[in-house]
């Protein structure tokens, strides 16, 4: 007995030294990682689940503790309220219009400017490029007051113009991204085109634009995400229900009535939040590969 014990004690470490790393690597490590991933995954995913079930509850179901995990029956009426009693359909239309204009404006103007910075030499280009980069980190608070005054003097308050017009003057970060991409296009292409008598405009249009869809799509996605989610700008410039975008309309309803009114309950607000999120999710699912591209394009790598 004692011998066996002794033998066991003597051999056990030898076996485990050889085998522990292998077991660890093959089984234990992935198991620990999956446990961690699932734990954090639940934490990150849970709010979405809470949002979906919350948007399908009525007041009584919502006010239960412990919570109802599957509202039965589901109250689709929250969504009906959102679109019939409240102008949420109008909010969405406004968001689509504003976002559409901004995406077009940012992509078109930024591509044109990026071409200048990528290819055309001129005195002062270096300084202008440094200024461009500086504006990327310039906090908008420093310009917002005079810009607001300007728009109010122009009579543009409560219209989409303050939200859309500035995007046609190029967005600094987008210009930077597109320029990086343009610089990767072989110079032989534009030199050959130039020998064929193409001017800069035609080179830009026939060589740079068709060869740059990935970066242009990336910039469009960024513009879409930023504009769809933007809260501060429409909050300042829009104060009429007919003009509000979805984000600001949702916040407005929530602040004015959230939970306190018979139509605008918190459950209806949750339904509204879900409606605002869905287009983002759709874009993410449909354009995933461009998201990956976007991240590598920012040029941030180890």
């Amino acid at each position: 007995m004692s011998l066996a014990d002794h033998a066991g004690a003597a051999t056990a470490p030898r076996v485990s030294v050889a085998q522990r790393p292998r077991t660890w690597r093959r089984l234990l490590r992935p198991a620990v990682l999956y446990v961690l991933l699932t734990f954090f995954g639940l934490i990150f995913g849970f709010p979405f689940y809470w949002l979906v079930i919350g948007s399908l509850k009525n007041e009584a179901q919502y006010n239960q503790f412990p919570p109802t995990w599957l509202p039965n029956p589901p109250h689709w009426s929250n969504y009906v309220t959102l679109f019939q009693a409240l102008p949420f359909g109008q909010f969405l239309v406004n968001s689509v219009i504003v976002t559409g204009f901004v995406v077009i404006g940012v992509v078109a103007s930024s591509a044109v400017v990026a071409y200048a910075f990528a290819r055309l030499r001129a005195p002062g280009r270096g300084i202008l490029f440094a200024l461009l980069l500086a504006t990327v980190i310039l906090p908008s608070q420093i310009t917002i007051v005079p810009t607001f005054i300007l728009f109010s003097k122009l009579g543009w308050l409560n219209s989409f113009k303050p939200l859309t017009i500035p995007s046609f003057f190029g967005d600094a970060f987008s210009i930077f991204l597109i320029r990086q991409f343009f610089q990767g296009i072989p110079r032989d292409l534009d030199e050959a085109a130039m020998l064929d008598g193409c001017g800069y405009g035609r080179i830009f249009w026939h060589i740079f634009v068709p060869n740059s869809w990935p970066v242009l799509a990336t910039v469009a996605i960024f513009a879409f995400i930023n504009t769809w989610s933007d809260f501060f700008t429409p909050l300042i410039y829009l104060n009429n229900f007919n003009k509000m975008t979805a984000a600001v309309g949702l916040a407005f309803l929530n602040v004015e009535h959230g939970g306190g009114s018979s139509t605008v309950t918190l459950q209806v607000m949750l339904a509204g939040s879900l409606v605002v999120i869905v287009p983002m999710l759709a874009v993410f699912i449909l354009l995933q590969r461009y998201f990956v591209k976007a991240i590598t394009l920012t040029g941030v790598k180890a």
């Binding site: 992935p30 961690l36 991933l37 995954g41 990150f44 995913g45 709010p47 809470w50 006010n63 503790f65 412990p66 103007s109 044109v112 071409y115 200048a116 055309l120 030499r121 001129a122 202008l128 200024l131 461009l132 980190i137 906090p139 608070q141 420093i142 310009t143 007051v145 005079p146 607001f148 005054i149 300007l150 109010s152 046609f168 003057f169 190029g170 800069y200 830009f204 769809w228 809260f231 501060f232 909050l235 300042i236 984000a247 949702l250 929530n254 602040v255 959230g258 918190l266 607000m269 949750l270 605002v276 999120i277 983002m280 993410f284 995933q288 991240i295 920012t298 941030v300 790598k301 180890a302």
Partner: protein
């Protein structure tokens, strides 16, 4: 000689045409820079020395706005203190958590792509929608967070009304969106060359040593990027304050940007001059902090190209 001069003149013409084309193509941004950046900055600098309500012409006040803000405005002091709280508490947590999740999601495991998407997607949720959702999660009676506290027999917290809890609550909502930083770290991690790990292993480096001496130094440019983006983001924090306090923040939750918004565009006041002075103080603070980060980066950011032989 003549030929050379003709050639030179031709080149001069080409150069000039190229320069003209540059300014033509760059004109949208140059115009925009003048209209949306230079002009407003000068105007706001001027306005910061005046009292202006949009209707009657601006009245010159000299330095009074600044001296009021810096000496006698208690709300402004709270706004500064709260904003720095978010930067000093929220930013480090965000940086560490986004790196930690990126390390976890960098593992080669089956189904890891699904987890990556799950961690990333919350960062796409518009701030207002996320705010409404978290109002529901923070509910002291029916919300989940309090359910968990109760489960562990901990005292209930009025997350959104307790002056001690509102700032942590807002940081929690922001941490849900940590995926935007995570995905950038992940891209950084995936570009670390495999051979560096191999040679570290041959030299007998364990997992911790490999992280400390290989991964972390190579990630420092990414960390710098995240630090600058996060710094500016936390300094500008506004949306969550507006939504989670129902547009009524008090001294425990008001921030720089919210106070500026209230001063300039609030329903009672259009104090454009006073708001401009706030904006300039804010601007100087943000620029100084960003400059400090960039300056310090020479000491801790590792660039592969600049390695000693």
């Amino acid at each position: 000689m003549a030929k050379l001069m003709v050639a030179r003149r031709r080149m001069g013409v080409a150069r000039r045409r190229e320069a003209v084309a540059f300014y033509l193509f760059a004109s949208p941004w140059i115009l925009g820079f003048l209209i949306w950046t230079v002009g407003p900055m000068l105007a706001s600098l001027y306005l910061s020395f005046t009292s202006y309500d949009l209707f009657s012409p601006p009245q010159w006040l000299g330095l009074q706005n600044y001296s009021d803000l810096l000496t006698s405005d208690g709300t402004f002091r709270s706004a500064i203190a709260n904003t720095f709280y978010f930067v000093v508490v929220g930013l480090p947590i965000t940086l560490v958590l986004s790196l930690a999740t990126a390390l976890l999601l960098n593992e080669r495991l089956r189904g890891i792509v699904v987890f990556r998407a799950l961690f990333y997607v919350p960062s796409l949720v518009p701030s207002v929608a996320s705010g409404v959702l978290w109002i529901s999660l923070f509910d002291p009676q029916y919300g989940v967070l309090d359910g968990i506290l109760r489960f562990f027999h901990l005292p209930s917290v009025d997350w959104l009304t307790d002056p001690n809890a509102i700032k942590p609550a807002i940081i929690i909502t922001l941490l849900w969106g940590v995926g935007s930083g995570m995905i950038i770290y992940l891209a950084g991690l995936q570009s670390v060359p495999e051979h560096l790990y191999e040679s570290a292993k041959i030299d007998g480096a364990g997992a911790i040593a490999r992280f400390w001496f290989v991964t972390l130094p190579l990630l420092t440019p990414t960390i710098l990027f995240q630090l600058v983006i996060g710094l500016i983001g936390y300094f500008q924090i506004f949306d969550q304050i507006y939504v989670l306090t129902n547009n009524r923040p008090d001294d425990s939750s008001i921030t720089f940007t919210y106070y500026l918004f209230q001063t300039a565009f609030g329903s009672e006041s259009n104090q454009m001059g006073y708001a401009s002075a706030q904006a300039w103080i804010f601007f100087v603070v943000v620029m100084v902090c960003t400059a400090i980060v960039f300056r310090s980066s020479a000491r801790w950011v590792f660039y592969e190209g600049a390695r000693n032989p």
